[in-house]
């Protein structure tokens, strides 16, 4: 199993919370960028030794829709070259304002079979506050259009804990999400990343951001707990800290990350991993386009590092990870190496019962506290 990730670093505007490698106002670079990623796809070079055929493709950004016609073209050439395995999961991220019927149909025809819609919220004031370009009606409309275009695997991204968002706001939004009935839901709690406009707007005295009160830790925890309870009740499987899916609709591309699998990242700032080696491209799109050697950095993980990554990635999954599997792969038994912290967290009830290494529901909300002990 190996995954292919394609990064599109262009945006129409930056959202206040976003610290991803994406830029507004670089439209002039789109054409040369398409050429650059096509070249890199043809010749990934480096240490990628995972074969030419990928089981999943994920096109993320930024905003992939800004590539317009180039996008189906790239997809078609990938399929034509036999780079995607039969039955491959092909996902693309899409903002509601770009989810037009013809766009979605073209992509579907080019092989996209999974759509990830960036809803983020269902409240117009909130959406405006965080710098989104769509409103709630457009978000809901996008899901309908996707269904009409023939997509049977649509995910929506949501953020909770936004400034000005109360528990009741979140509850009513989530009820409407359930009513709309996407196949997959990613519900992230807001992380205030340093250097973003959101972070700069924080007033620690007043506990506000973007001029609106930030939910307290307790409120955010309550939102998370309720989300899990409600979505599971509505027939979604909670399979990863922030991910919920109807049966058979887990995101295979992301699962591969959490399983510690191999993946090739193409595009500015994209990360790749192959059997304990990791490397990443130049993040600046202009430099990425120009450079012959697009490699920005690499690392060779020690067994100990791989062990720790397998654990903290595996623990993101609700089913956790099997200690014996890790031992078979890496020759070290995490139960032995981490005996002390594991005993500590088991005693505190943060680990789920059973033979697998997995977090309990309480442990999922405090995942970082636990994971810290494994790095």
């Amino acid at each position: 199993m190996s995954g292919l990730y394609l990064h599109i670093p262009f945006c129409r505007s930056k959202c206040v919370y976003c610290d991803f490698n994406s830029y507004a106002g670089l439209d002039a670079l789109i054409d040369p960028y398409v050429n650059a990623i096509s070249d890199e796809l043809a010749e990934p070079g480096r240490v990628w030794d995972g074969g030419d055929i990928f089981d999943t493709l994920y096109i993320g950004g930024g905003n992939p829709a800004m590539l317009n016609e180039a996008l189906p073209r790239i997809l078609k050439s990938l399929f034509a070259a036999g780079r995607l395995a039969p039955g491959a999961e092909v996902s693309i991220e899409m903002n509601p304002e770009d989810a037009k019927a013809d766009v979605l149909e073209n992509l579907r025809a080019a092989g996209v079979n999974r759509l990830s819609l960036g809803w983020q919220a269902l409240d117009d004031d909130l959406l405006r506050r965080i710098g989104r370009r769509h409103n709630a009606a457009m978000a809901q409309e996008a899901l309908v259009v996707a269904g009409q275009a023939g997509y049977s695997d649509v995910s929506v991204d949501l953020i909770f804990g936004l400034p000005g968002q109360s528990f009741d706001d979140w509850r009513s939004a989530l009820e409407r999400v359930i009513e709309a009935g996407p196949d997959h839901i990613s519900a992230y709690d807001l992380t205030i990343e340093a250097g973003t406009p959101l972070a700069r707007s924080v007033d620690p005295e007043l506990r506000t951001a973007m001029g609106a009160p930030l939910p307290t830790e307790d409120a955010a925890a309550q939102m998370y707990e309720w989300t899990r309870e409600r979505l599971v009740g509505a027939g979604y499987e909670h399979y990863e800290i922030s991910s919920f899916a109807r049966a058979g609709r887990r995101c295979r591309h992301n699962l591969n990350y959490w399983y510690g699998g191999d993946y090739l990242g193409i595009g500015a700032g994209a990360h790749s991993h192959f059997q304990g080696r990791r490397w990443w491209s130049l993040a600046d799109p202009a430099k990425y386009i120009e450079a012959k050697n697009k490699l920005a950095g690499s690392e060779h993980l020690s067994i100990r590092q791989r062990l720790s990554e397998r654990l903290f990635l595996g623990l993101r999954l609700v089913e956790g990870v099997e200690a014996q599997l890790i031992e078979r792969e890496l020759g070290e038994d995490p139960e032995k190496i981490f005996a002390k912290p594991l005993a500590h967290w088991r005693e505190l009830g943060m680990m789920a019962a059973g033979p697998r290494l997995a977090l309990s529901p309480g442990g999922l909300a405090l995942a970082n506290e636990v994971m810290v002990d494994f790095v």
Partner: protein, 598 residues
């Protein structure tokens, strides 16, 4: 060299008035240090001294100067620390001199340490030559400074020299004034050796250099000498002068300043203030000497990594080689593990030692709240001293005394009320108010030292926008109504947080401490109860609720290195926390709680 052609002087000043810069100019002007070798603050040999712009150790240097009268002079400059913590070093240096330059900033005017140092110099019988520095500043007002010197200090400012140590203007005039106004040393070159030990310094491989001012007689290699206070006898290995590096000479004569090596391996064997004399032909009586520097402020210093204990001990021993005023003894804290209770001259001394330990010895350290030594009279009639609040006995205490200081604060009159409020608030007793000039009031207060060691100086500066200056003398022990305040976390007392406080304020302070700790202690896996208690009675309680959520969003685009780095950073943060029983406390908490406003 005739005694007439010799001068020994020191420079005294308030901090930042330009003492070290003036010394630089004098060295430069007399070609003692060539322009090429010139670094700023030549006499401040430690990086820390240069960075902070302060002098910590006394230094001596020999200047050669051909004066306007055509004669060649040797002028010994003994540089002194400018900070109140090190005033004992000032008094040592003064005893080795006949004159002192009193440097005053032309725009700042007379400050608290100007007053203190001027009085010290006058009491030591030195000829005082005022130097008004920084006359290049647009805000310079030399006439105002002269008035303050004359009216406020009673110093004759007629012969004051105006200089700019920055540009070098007036340097020559200073040298001329030293020769014209300061008397040459008196001394009998043929009498038995009598020399004042004014400092000492440890040099690797060579042992201890004894800094001396020869009063009578002379000293040379192979002489047998005796330290009069300790009776210790030693043979001289070499003698020399400071240029400013050590340079051996044949002999040191009466009136001169220099160093002596005499196979002494440890500064502890030298008592600064002692008198050196000949082992066979002895001086009739010793010089008056001076009081030993006493530790006034104490705190526990603990390695963050318990495994560093032995390294901390070695580092403290190394520092002590050159700093006889640093004291330490092992201490065990249930909260912080193994460390040392250290004694310092004052807060700056504490800070400097801690910084040197961290910087020069690469140790990560945690220091507890500075405290003073209390004298307890027990009901059974015995007397004990307590340097650590957690040693306070649970019963049998009759009465308790604490050290007081006599503080002198100089401030523009508009801040007088603020200063007095601060002093009242710190249990001060007003002694006197007077005016040095229209623009400068002098306020004298008696204050408990314990109230000063926390953040008094910072508070004073902030309440007077930096205009007030402060100096103090120790004023002995006085009885106070004090109690021990304990802080308990999840029901267990944390010794490092214990404090001895005035009974009147114990309740408010306990409440404020508990509240502050609630803000400082991060949420943990379980609820943490914080209690303040006096004599077993809980007077305040706060709760840190259990943590409920700590999870980050997805690893974007497979960027797992970033996720790992974030976790590693979080782990580093945890490492910098101290585990006290079940509770994790940030190291800052041990310092931050000192800044509690009641």
């Amino acid at each position: 060299m005739e005694l007439d052609n010799l001068r020994n002087f020191c420079i005294v000043a308030h901090i930042d008035h330009g003492k070290s810069t003036l010394a630089d100019r004098l060295l430069e002007f007399t070609n003692t240090v060539s322009k090429r070798e010139m670094v700023e603050q030549v006499l401040d040999s430690m990086d820390l001294e240069r960075e902070r712009g302060i002098t910590i150790k006394a230094q001596a240097v020999k200047l050669e100067y051909r004066a306007d009268d055509g004669r060649d002079y040797i002028i010994n400059l003994i540089d002194t620390p400018g900070h109140v913590d090190f005033s004992y070093e000032v008094s040592r240096s003064l005893a080795a001199c006949e004159g002192a330059l009193l440097v005053v900033d032309a725009s700042q005017g007379v400050e608290a340490q100007t007053v203190a140092n001027a009085h010290l110099a006058i009491e030591s019988g030195l000829e005082l030559v005022p130097v008004i520095n920084k006359i290049d500043l647009p805000s310079a007002d030399p006439e105002m400074v002269k008035r303050e010197l004359e009216e406020g200090l009673g110093v004759d400012a007629a012969e004051a020299v105006s200089v700019s140590a920055k540009t070098g203007e007036g340097t020559k005039e200073v040298l001329e004034a030293i020769i014209r106004l300061m008397p040459p040393p008196q001394g009998d070159p043929d009498a038995p050796l009598k020399a004042l030990v004014f400092d000492s310094s440890y040099a690797p491989y060579r042992g201890v250099a004894i800094f001396v001012r020869i009063i009578d007689g002379s000293i040379k290699k192979h002489d047998k000498i005796m330290m009069m206070a300790t009776g210790r006898v030693a043979e001289v290995e070499s003698v020399g002068v400071f240029e400013p590096d050590m340079k051996p000479v044949e002999q040191l004569h009466a009136g001169e300043v220099g160093y002596v090596f005499a196979s002494i391996k440890n500064v502890q064997e030298i008592r600064v203030g002692d008198t050196l004399t000949g082992a066979k032909v002895q001086a009739a009586e010793a010089l008056p000497g001076y009081d030993e520097a006493k530790s006034m402020v104490f705190c526990g210093i603990f390695p963050i990594d318990g495994g560093e204990y032995a390294n901390l001990r070695d580092a403290l021993e190394k520092l002590k080689l050159n700093d006889a005023s640093l004291n330490f003894e092992p201490e065990t804290s249930t909260a912080l593990g193994f460390g040392f209770r250290c004694g310092f001259l004052g807060l700056l001394h504490l800070e400097i030692v801690k910084e040197r330990l961290e910087r020069e010895h690469e140790l990560e350290l945690l220091a507890t709240a500075p405290s003073v030594a209390y004298r307890l009279e027990m009901t059974d009639g015995s007397e004990i001293f307590i340097k650590n609040p957690s040693d306070y006995p649970s019963k049998g205490v009759g009465s308790i005394e604490e050290p007081f200081i006599s503080a002198t604060i100089l401030t523009p009159p508009e801040y007088m009320v603020a200063v007095m409020e601060l002093c009242q608030d710190r249990r001060g007793r007003l002694v006197d108010v007077s005016y040095l000039s229209e623009g400068r009031a002098q306020i004298k207060y008696d204050l408990p030292l314990a109230e000063v060691v926390l953040d008094f100086y910072d508070q004073l500066k902030s309440k007077t926008r930096g205009y007030a200056s402060f100096d103090y003398d120790y004023a002995g022990y006085r009885q106070s109504d004090l109690v021990k305040l304990d802080i308990l976390l999840t029901g267990k007392p944390v010794d490092a947080f214990s404090a001895i406080v005035s009974r009147d304020r114990a309740y408010d302070r306990g409440k404020a401490l508990a509240e502050k700790l609630r803000k400082l202690i991060p949420r943990q896996m379980f609820e943490v109860a914080i209690q303040a208690s006096i004599g077993g009675r809980v007077i305040a309680r706060e709760t840190v609720k259990a943590i409920r959520k700590d999870v980050t969003a997805k690893c974007y685009g497979g960027d797992i290195s970033r996720k790992r780095k974030l976790l590693e950073k979080q782990k580093e943060g945890k490492k910098r926390m101290k585990q006290v029983g079940q509770v994790t406390i940030p190291q800052d908490a041990f310092l931050e709680i000192l800044k509690v406003e009641e």
